[in-house]
């Protein structure tokens, strides 16, 4: 699994791709944690535009990223979420605890 990420000042954007399920979630959780630790950003944006499918394993990915950012008193933002992952976020109420930008509805 390879993630593209870029740093713009104190803002780290991480682009997630493909299908996020239990089979690959651990890699997502660990890679995101490693990037947040390496760059210690004030804001971390998880870019979901290339995520084609996500189940509850994706919620654990977001909750873990939220914890990583809380540890360094930073903020987590989700962006570019397609309709299917958005429905999963809404069913779980995650959309109420994390800021979601420009959902692609």
């Amino acid at each position: 699994m390879h993630f593209t990420s870029f740093l713009d000042g104190k803002k780290l954007t991480i682009a997630l791709t493909g299908e996020i399920d239990h089979h690959c979630a651990k890699v997502y959780i660990q890679s995101i944690a490693a990037k947040i630790e390496a760059y210690a950003p004030e804001v971390c944006v998880l870019d979901f535009r290339d995520v084609t499918f996500m189940d509850s394993s994706g919620i654990a990915v977001v909750i873990n990223a939220l914890r990583n950012m809380a540890q360094i008193e930073g903020k987590l933002v989700l962006s570019g979420i397609a309709p299917q992952p958005l429905r999963v976020f809404q069913a779980s109420g995650i959309d109420k605890i994390v800021e979601i930008k420009e959902a692609l509805v």
Binding site: D21, D55, S56, S57, N64, Q84, R87, G93
Partner: protein, 143 residues
């Protein structure tokens, strides 16, 4: 029970089969002419139920998962996912949002998602014997 069509899959509890199972059900469901949203809901619910068998039913060994889909009258997709794993002692507790025995890489939202995405969800389980998830989704007819 009257049905129009059915399919049965039998596979080991390998995590690489999660994508296979949800895709196979989506392909089978296509004959009901679902919308993208309906298809996404079905894929998600199947992914949740199959992942639960892999993660919880058979925690440290490979076991067998059986998945049966039927098309019932009135455009209903009927799905049964069955394992012979550890079982669930307290189903009400297991269904509660955020309840998990899985640690920090699980969110405890699987049953909540299955319940909100499907028209019907029925869980039967016997500790030590296994768990059966029975779900149904009615597909809207389109002109």
């Amino acid at each position: 029970m009257k049905f129009d069509n059915y399919m049965i899959l039998d596979f080991p509890s390998k995590s690489s089969n999660e994508a296979f199972a949800r895709s196979a059900v989506a392909c089978f469901a296509a004959q009901l002419d679902p919308t993208l949203e309906e298809l996404g809901d079905i894929r998600t619910a199947v992914s949740e139920a199959v992942t639960n068998c892999i993660v919880h039913a058979y925690p440290d060994k490979l076991g067998n998962i059986t998945l049966r889909c039927r098309i019932l009258k009135d455009n209903v997709l009927d799905i049964v996912i069955k394992d012979r794993g550890v079982g669930i002692a307290d189903i009400e507790q297991a269904k509660r949002p955020s309840f998990t025995t899985g640690g920090s890489d699980r969110s405890g939202m699987g049953f909540t998602i299955m319940e909100s995405f499907m028209t019907n969800l029925e869980i039967t389980s016997t500790p030590g014997k296994g768990t059966t998830i029975h779900m149904r989704r009615r597909i809207q007819r389109r002109q």
